[in-house]
């Protein structure tokens, strides 16, 4: 047994582990001696930002996480929400930003693998996935490579694993040039009484290692995921983790089979700093100690040191505590699926985390303190100011509204994402009711006669940048709106908070304000945060990303028969705008794409209005009034109308009474929907709107094959489609001149 002769602990070594001198002093105190090299690795893994949330904990605690529908909130592998009939939906979102920048395919793939594992670790079969992606400027030298790698990686993993990808986001902005964002969401369905958590129970119970073998993958990865980038990134590079979706699929089936036998006491997937975090989590949450014998850990490489094994981020691995009497049954299941199965330790009553290697004790640490005593920082922050409102007359109108509209729907942030989602299996499992391209992805609840779940992922980083508080509110509100637009009652949300370096007060200020906004919105809209993930230090050479708190929401459709879509408007339908004429042009796509500026405040969200209009639209959809529905978001009313026309293939004639045409067409005022209503029901719908007191206007009808708005816009649906669909393919496969000439 070759053993690595462990280096001595120097201040430099401590610093390389991302620990401050103060943190190290505390570690020595808690260890009650100088830690061994392996112990230092363990402490650093447990105390880095990624695992300890030391900069964010204080603020995350302020988020609303409870509600009658919430079965498990934050703290478990994923949130668990009741959907009735004894079923629960289990979901979470997680970032894999840094790894995806270094190796886009594998980074994105292992990100998807990680979030799927979080979901099925809890006993749920994954039924839907989303991916929220942010890239640098389209023409930045790295962007194409990153986009094609990330999209191929997301698909490569999810498609092979067999989960439908039903939604997501793609944005482009120079502020992501050096730090792309890859946020992966997964949801699964389980029986309320079939949920598994990580809390170990019982002393002397076998701790079992399952799945793939351990290699040196990503050693140092957890520490890197919390380190700001600079140009020396190449040296920081650990062995890249490679995803194996086939093994993960086998792991899924084996875990669910095993759970069905009742053998599982506790289960925890191995993510960042795999063996360390999972073992400590299981013991600590069960008030138990854990004894691990690394000589029993299945390894794929020779002469791995204890340090490497404890920090390895090899994928597709799980740790479980099993009922001893079920051991054989369990092993048989795993052998059937061709997976490694090894008893690597046991639970103890000494509240110590002990690790044996080569017959020697290489770590002996207080298991509770590893997590509980992790530093919690109240980082200094400055309140971000909120820019003062800007009247519509301060913004130049376009020279030509047709040209402007075409430019917007063909712009990087509004162009069709078909090129992306056609690389994802969106139909597998046979339950997808709404594919990407609508307001939210919808998947029916397998086995239930009428129920379906809606999924949407949203945030508008340019809004958050301008006003983190309003931007945080808006992210939640838009997600809520997208769910409502399909006829779903929003149930709960998960967040993925991507920010820069929290040690900079202005960044910390954005973070704090965004969380306050998210919290207010989630409380007001009854969509508690049940899980989430924080990714800080998204910064290169001192330039931070746009603050990007991604919000993913899940909504419940009681009866899929009266679900709404944005592509079902029919000739003759009356078109209603729920909401008022827009006046807000600051921070809009119009301002950026047509005027070439990004300034002013984001459109404010009035949460009471949001809720009232949402409730009204939901009721209208559920009582069958809406032949089609679409929320109004990026690009404003004109873009929303264009999107509905492109989706249905029909044109529309729209007559607005307008004060500021460019604001009315392109303003991004919030809390608005377009509802198409079958003509015979139009008056009834109008009456109901009045009755319910929401502002609305009848703005026109579905007809012909052109979109006509007052005397401003007149474009054929075909031209809209061509422009909308062309941008992404042109970005990704620019025709070599030779071919273009042919």
């Amino acid at each position: 047994m070759t053993r690595m002769n462990e280096p001595e602990i120097t201040p430099e070594l401590v610093a390389e582990h991302g620990l401050t001198p103060e943190e190290y002093d505390r570690i020595v105190e808690l260890t009650e001696r100088t830690p061994t090299f392996t112990e230092l690795g363990i402490w650093s893994a447990m105390w880095n930002e990624h695992c300890s949330y030391k900069s964010s904990k204080k603020w995350l605690k302020t988020l609303p996480t409870e509600g009658p529908q919430v079965v498990y909130g934050p703290g478990e592998n994923a949130g668990v929400v009741d959907i009735g009939d004894g079923d629960v939906v289990v979901f979470k979102m997680e970032s894999h930003n840094h790894p995806s920048f270094i190796e886009p395919y594998q980074g994105a793939a292992t990100g998807v693998g990680g979030i799927l594992r979080d979901v099925f670790t809890m006993g749920a079969r994954p039924i839907a996935a989303m991916n929220a992606l942010r890239f640098g400027e389209p023409d930045h030298e790295k962007t194409r490579h990153l986009v094609s790698g990330v999209v191929a990686g997301v698909g490569g993993y999810g498609n092979s694993f067999g989960v439908p990808t039903v939604g997501g986001e793609v944005n482009f902005h120079e502020r992501y040039n050096g730090n792309i964002l890859v946020n992966a969401f997964a949801a699964g369905i389980a029986k309320a009484d079939g949920i598994y958590i990580s809390k170990a129970e019982g002393v002397g119970m076998p701790v079992v290692y399952l799945g793939a073998k351990t290699g040196r993958d990503g050693v140092g990865g957890a520490t890197m995921a919390s380190a700001e980038f600079d140009d020396s990134i190449d040296e920081k590079r650990p062995t890249v983790q490679v995803g194996d979706p086939f093994t993960e699929k086998c792991l899924l089936e084996a875990c669910l089979e095993l759970m069905a036998t009742g053998a599982v006491v506790a289960i925890q997937d191995m993510g960042a700093a795999g063996l360390t975090c999972s073992a400590v989590e299981m013991g600590a949450s069960g008030d138990l100690g854990i004894l691990l014998d690394l000589d029993r850990v299945p390894v794929r490489e020779e002469a791995m040191s204890a340090y490497e094994m404890m920090l390895s981020e090899s994928q597709e691995r799980m740790l479980m505590v099993l009922r001893p009497e079920k051991e054989e049954e369990a092993e048989a299941i795993f052998t059937k699926w061709g997976l490694d199965f090894a008893i690597v330790g046991e639970t103890t009553d000494d509240l110590r985390f002990r690790v044996m290697h080569g017959g020697e004790e290489v770590a002996n640490l207080p298991i509770k303190e590893l997590g509980d005593e992790a530093p919690e920082y109240d980082r200094p922050y400055v309140e971000p100011g909120s820019p003062s409102p800007m009247e519509p007359h301060l913004f130049a109108p376009p020279d030509d509204y047709n040209t402007a509209l075409l430019k917007l729907i063909g712009s990087p942030d509004l162009a069709s994402r078909r090129w992306v989602w056609e690389q994802y299996d969106t139909m597998i499992q046979g339950n997808t009711l709404q594919l990407p391209g609508g307001d939210a992805g919808v998947v029916r609840v397998d086995g239930h006669p009428t129920k379906a779940l809606a999924f949407s992922s949203d945030v508008t980083p340019r809004y958050v940048e301008a006003d983190a508080f309003e931007g945080g509110k808006q992210a939640v509100a838009e997600c809520y709106r997208n769910l409502i637009a399909t006829g779903a009652l929003p149930l709960a949300t998960t967040d993925n908070l991507n920010f820069g370096n929290p040690e900079r007060p202005e960044i910390m200020g954005q973070f704090v304000a965004a969380i306050r906004g998210i919290g207010e919105a989630c409380s007001a809209l009854n969509t508690p945060i049940v899980s989430g993930n924080v990714s800080l230090y998204n910064e290169t050479n001192g330039e931070a990303i746009l603050p990007t708190p991604t919000i993913a929401g899940v909504g419940l459709i009681d009866d899929a028969a009266c679900m709404a879509r944005m592509d079902t408007a029919d000739t003759g339908d009356a078109l209603f705008l729920v909401g008022v004429e827009a006046v807000h042009l600051a921070r809009t796509i119009y301002q950026r794409e047509i005027l070439g500026e990004e300034s002013g405040p984001p459109p404010p969200v009035d949460l009471l209005t949001e809720k009232a209009r949402g409730a009204f639209v939901l009721a209208a959809i559920r009582s069958g009034y809406a032949s089609a529905c679409h929320d109004v978001s990026d690009g404003g009313l004109a873009v929303a109308l264009a999107e509905m026309c492109m989706a249905s293939g029909y044109g529309a004639e729209v007559e607005l009474d307008i004060t500021y045409p460019h604001a009315a067409l392109f303003g991004e005022d919030q809390s608005r929907y377009i509802v198409a209503v079958d003509e015979p029901w139009a008056n009834m719908f109008a009456a109901n709107s009045e009755g319910s007191g929401v502002s609305f206007a009848r703005i026109g009808k579905v007809t012909g094959d052109r979109l006509i708005i007052n005397d401003l816009v007149d474009i054929s649906v075909a031209d809209l489609k061509d422009t909308h669909e062309a941008w992404f393919p042109n970005l990704m496969n620019p025709q070599p001149l030779a071919e273009a000439a042919e």
């Binding site: 270094i102 190796e103 594998q106 793939a212 040196r216 890249v240 490679v242 995803g243 994928q315």
Partner: protein, 82 residues
């Protein structure tokens, strides 16, 4: 301008997980092949190109590997001309 045909071989760096090799290994096992310790999968590219000289060809081929054919984060490559 001379004509060259080259073979580029791209293999995974040591330590990088090779799911393909792993699967093939166990498939060989279940097909009854014994004594197989390990299988690692790689790629070849047979490139036919015109270049002014052998050294120009080599330079070009190495550049192709760096720019496109190999993912140098996880792969090594070798260029043979002949």
């Amino acid at each position: 301008m001379a004509h060259f045909s080259a073979r580029i071989t791209v293999t995974l760096k040591n330590g990088v997980l090779d799911p393909q090799g792993k699967a093939i290994e166990s498939a060989l096992g279940s097909l009854g092949f014994e004594g197989v310790d390990s299988v690692r999968q790689g790629k070849t590219f047979d490139v036919a190109l015109d270049a002014a000289s052998q050294s120009d060809a080599e330079t070009a081929l190495n550049a192709m590997c760096e720019k496109l054919l190999a993912n140098t984060v996880i792969e090594d490559y070798r260029v043979e001309i002949g």
